[in-house]
């Protein structure tokens, strides 16, 4: 309006400057603008103060973390070799997939899980478990990628797909196929939360592969090396620009076992299709020459992180393939206990050479009729005949004379009812019943009738196959018991126990056992020409004969045992065989026979003068030259 008025009257002079108000208005605006700018600057200065002064170290570290990336270099585990240096467990190179948490985007978890055939919820839970770890701590996703998984990862790795996926070359376990020596060797697997919280594994980190069973577990610290690290400088797209430094991994040490692969293989083949265990020991040193448990599992499936479904299948298998029968099967030994009872009777003076019993096929003890396995009876038998023909009636009488507490005393003296101390995890003790034991465990007194059952290795008495091998090996060695062990030692170990058995008593028992195989005994069919194998069969009842007649269920058949050693004097090898539901002890004897035969045949081959191998076949048992050089 002022403008208009001015135009109307050009000669008039305004009292105040024409733009006086606007100038003031603009000055006000400018002042506001200045305040805003000053505020912004103060804000920026505060930010600068925070970045550069207050939390400089924190942000500097964050920036470094974005710039420098650490990738682990996994240390290969040591190989497991047999006593001759042949490779039982090897390594091979493959890929490990890890999830880098620096560049992890939660939205990617589901497609990654689906692409790798994983459960998305499981993966998300796994990521949550690592929340408390530093961000540079990568999450292991999969071990030993298959070619298909590798193709998926390669296709989606990088900025255009899932930048959090990282592939690392690493060494993986190669175990023998078809579960050969599976329980002995064990397997490796990712450390669990429970293990992480236990003191035994406190020095490990989440995602580490550790030995879970067998030798792999027992000697985990020896076998596993120290992981290395590779530090690289990456750009904002996480592309490697420069390798800053490499700390090499220290590989694990090779482990040389006492196992003789020839014997192990023969025992494994002899146990094919059977359930049970074989333990072969050198009673002179306690070295374990073979240790078999069947049915077995394939440790190779564990080496690449077994799926929950596969693991459940193994767990729910009624024949328990994960169960190490050689160390953990606590079963009645049947008649294989008779030599121990015989020795106890001789040592305690309960019987002497002249002691005989008439076996009419059974006898009544404490109001109950106990049968002999031979319906018609053995007639009048002495100790040697009784052991050779496994006369139950004779041992009923001996047991009754010795008494349960003396039986228990001698059974414990030879190592029953306690762990042998083998260098494998999970060994069981078995049960040696006594009057004290019954009061302690069942709050009941011992009845003399129960001793009759124990006398023939039944009743509450349970042993493991390795205990039996240890016990008989010690007896046959004159009462010197060597702790079973799996790793070769530079210096021989002192005996675990020296029982002061009278040699003549030991000889009487051993003679009886030699007659089992080489005379007219129960395992005469398993005699080895030119080799003096001694032994004892055992048939442990699982169900009464009446029940078996009614329902001939295969799983109710008697357990077959055989304990054998050779030669008869100063034995070099003792073999315990358990064949679950094998029906008769003499069925287990050929298994021990073949292991012992393999031992002596190999010994004979080794004694031959060395000749250049004419063919591949002629060098079949020689340890590989390459491995010898490596050693």
């Amino acid at each position: 309006m002022r403008y208009l008025r001015a135009e109307k009257d050009p000669d008039s002079i305004p009292e105040r400057p024409l733009f006086g108000d606007e100038t003031r208005f603009a000055a006000g605006r400018i002042a506001v603008f200045q305040y805003v700018i000053v505020t912004v600057f103060i804000y920026l200065l505060l930010g600068y103060w925070d970045l550069q002064v207050l939390n400089q170290e924190f942000y500097s570290e964050k920036a470094e973390q974005n710039q420098i990336k650490s990738l682990p270099i996994l240390a290969p585990r040591g190989k497991i070799l047999d006593r001759d240096g042949r490779v039982i467990v090897d390594n091979h190179e493959s890929f490990r997939l890890i999830l880098s948490r620096d560049s992890l985007r939660p939205a990617h978890l589901r497609p990654i899980a689906l692409g790798l055939n994983m459960d998305p919820a499981e993966l998300e839970a796994k990521v949550r478990r690592y929340q408390n770890q530093p961000t540079w701590f990568a999450i292991p996703l999969k071990e030993e990628l298959s070619l298909d998984e590798l193709a998926f990862v390669e296709a989606f790795r990088g900025q255009n797909g899932f930048p959090e996926l990282e592939l690392i070359r690493s060494q993986y376990r190669v175990y023998p196929k078809e579960g050969l020596a599976a329980h002995l060797l064990g397997y490796v697997g990712e450390i669990s939360d429970a293990e992480l919280n236990s003191p035994e594994w406190a020095h490990h980190n989440p995602g580490d592969l550790i030995g879970k069973a067998g030798v792999e577990r027992y000697y985990n610290d020896l076998l596993s090396g120290v992981d290395g690290q590779r530090q690289v400088r990456v750009d904002n797209r996480m592309n490697t620009r420069e390798v800053l430094g490499v700390k090499d991994a220290i590989p694990g040490r090779n482990l040389r076992l006492t196992i003789d692969l020839d014997l192990q293989v023969v025992a494994e083949l002899a146990m094919e299709g059977k359930r049970g265990a074989v333990v072969a020991l050198d009673p002179r040193s306690g070295e374990v020459l073979a240790l078999v448990s069947r049915p077995a599992f394939d440790p190779n499936r564990f080496a690449s992180r077994i799926s929950a479904r596969e693991f459940n299948e193994l767990i729910q298998d009624p024949y328990r393939p994960l169960f190490n029968r050689a160390l953990q099967a606590q079963l009645a030994p049947g008649s294989t206990f008779k030599p121990i009872l015989a020795l106890a009777a001789l040592e305690s003076g309960a019987i002497d050479d002249s002691f005989t019993v008439h076996c009419a096929g059974g006898a009544t003890w404490y109001g109950r009729y106990f049968k002999c396995h031979r319906r018609g009876g053995h007639g009048t038998v002495n100790l040697k005949t009784a052991i050779a023909q496994s006369c139950d009636v004779f041992f009923y009488a001996v047991g009754n004379r010795v008494g349960i507490d003396t039986i228990a005393e001698y059974a414990e003296m030879v190592g029953l009812g306690a762990r042998t101390g083998i260098d494998l995890p999970g060994e069981k003790e078995g049960v040696v019943p006594s009057s004290k034991w019954k009061i302690r465990t069942q709050r009941e007194k011992w009845y003399a009738g129960e001793t009759i059952s124990v006398a023939i290795g039944q009743g509450a008495l349970t042993v493991t196959p390795i205990q039996l091998a240890y016990a008989i090996g010690g007896i046959a060695s004159g009462g010197v018991f060597m702790r079973p062990h799996l790793v070769r030692q530079e210096k021989p170990e002192p005996p675990a126990r020296i029982a002061g058995f009278r040699p003549e008593n030991v000889r009487k028992v051993v003679d009886g056992m030699c007659a089992v195989v080489n005379g007219w005994g129960t395992a005469a069919a398993s005699r080895i020409p030119d080799i003096e194998m001694c032994g004892k069969t055992g048939t442990a009842q699982l169900a009464s004969n009446d029940l078996l007649r009614l329902k001939n269920h295969e799983d109710w058949h008697d357990n077959a045992w055989f304990i054998g050693f050779a030669p008869g004097t100063n034995p070099e090898i003792v073999v315990a065989v358990l064949w679950e539901n094998g029906a008769h002890g003499d069925m287990a004897a050929p298994i021990a026979r073949d292991v012992i035969k393999a031992y002596f045949d190999k010994k004979a081959r080794m004694k031959k003068p060395a000749q250049p191998p004419a063919s591949l076949a002629s060098a079949w048992l020689a340890p590989p030259a390459l491995d010898r050089k490596k050693r």
Binding site: R86, V87, I88, V89, H92, E93, S94, F95, P111, G115, E144, S146, L147, D148, L150, A151, F152, E154, A155, F156, R157, N160, G161, Y172, V174, Y175, P176, K177, L180, L261, D262, Q264, V265, V266, L269, E272, K274, A525, P529, D530, I531, P567, T569, E572, D586, M587, P590, I591, R593, D594, K597, A598, D601, A604, S615, A617, S618, W620, L621, P624
Partner: protein, 369 residues
């Protein structure tokens, strides 16, 4: 004198002119020429001027007439050129239309043959830089295109969608560094990964190089990468050469051979079968078989290293003992014949044939303690 001439100036001039005329007449009489001298003089003076004027007039006339003619010609030339351009454009358009129709027909046939649900798209641009190995396509998330989908052509695989916007998408070609497809060779069925190198050829990785594929052998998608459905041609082995870390197998991707203008995006992939050895992918149209009846029948194997022998000495020894017992007719662990482990086992019979009988046992001294 001056005053006289000045006073009688007109007369003086007249007299001079008359005298001059008389002298000229006398000269003309004496020269005996027909042409009057004045005329000669006039002619001599006027003719050059007239000639110059005529030349100028003629030149101007010529220039004017030629200029307009030239202007017409230029105009006409322009017109003709425009028409030529139009015709050429039309011709090109018609050719393109024809080619498009042929391609569309090929694409339509191809799309009808493959079991996967697909979408034909047009390439509308390429990524910045000569080494970008990416192309933009004219369909995006509003058409169902998603990141991670396969881009193929009737000749084979082309790439993978790496970004999808509402109206367009970005496809990373299989030749791009870092681009990978899971593949399997046609003859030996070696599984591996086809990796872009940034050049025209791709690298076949993670295959067992002990028995590498031969040049010319076709490589098909294995479907393991979860991007490309199984059974699509990926390319042909171009060469097998020694590299720094062993043998390098280079593959020429077949899908990008003809520099396609259109691609097919696999919206919903269905795995096919890998054609048997000898079968060639058809030119232009893929001869994909019907969907496989037993998906996942191909076994997946763990990645093996360069020395990837997954047997241990224990396995080899077990095999030898097994052969030994078979040769002796002994079942280990069973009653009956005692095995003789001093014998050499029969060598492994090729092709699963029966093992040769073992040599007779040598008599040996029994071991004595």
């Amino acid at each position: 004198m001056d005053s006289f001439l000045g006073r009688y100036r007109n007369l003086s001039v007249l007299l001079l002119l008359v005298v001059g005329q008389l002298m000229l007449l006398a000269f003309q009489i004496r020269s005996s020429q027909d042409v009057p001298l004045i005329r000669v003089w006039v002619a001599s003076v006027v003719t050059p001027l007239a000639r110059a004027l005529e030349t100028g007039r003629t030149a101007a006339a010529w220039f004017l007439s030629e200029y307009f003619v030239w202007q017409d010609a230029v105009r006409e030339n322009r017109e003709l050129r425009r028409r030529l351009g139009e015709l050429e454009l039309r011709n090109r358009f018609l050719s393109a239309e024809l080619a498009t129709a042929e391609r569309a027909q090929a694409l339509a046939q191809f799309r009808a043959r493959i079991p996967s649900k697909t979408l034909a798209v047009r390439i509308i641009g390429s990524g910045a830089g000569p080494d970008a190995h990416t192309v933009f396509i004219d369909r995006g998330s509003s058409d169902g295109v998603m990141k991670g989908m396969a881009a193929i052509t009737p000749e084979g695989i082309a790439g993978k969608v790496v970004a999808a916007w509402p109206m367009s998408s970005l496809v990373q070609l299989i030749t791009a560094p870092g681009a990978v497809a899971g593949v399997v060779t046609q003859k030996l069925r070696l599984r591996g990964s086809l990796r872009g190198t940034g050049g025209a050829l791709c690298m076949l990785e993670h295959v067992d190089t002990d028995t590498p594929p031969e040049p010319g052998e076709w490589v098909y998608t294995s479907g393991a990468d979860r991007v490309f459905p199984r059974g699509l041609p990926a390319g042909q082995v171009k060469m097998v050469r020694e590299g720094r870390a062993g043998k390098e197998i280079l593959v020429e991707p077949s899908g990008l051979k003809s520099r396609p203008d259109e691609l097919i995006i696999v919206l919903d992939g269905v795995h096919g079968l890998i054609p048997p050895p000898g079968a060639q992918p058809a030119e232009g149209v893929s001869l994909l078989p019907p969907p496989p009846p037993e998906p996942g029948a191909e076994e997946t194997a763990p990645v093996r290293g360069a020395n990837g022998n997954l047997l241990t000495d224990a396995d080899r020894l077990a095999e030898r003992y097994r052969r030994l017992s078979e040769a002796q007719g002994v079942q280990l662990g069973s009653k009956g014949k005692v095995p003789d482990f001093t014998r050499d086992p029969a060598p492994a019979a090729p092709n699963g044939a029966t093992a040769a009988p073992a040599a007779p046992a040598r008599k040996q001294e029994p071991p004595r303690p």
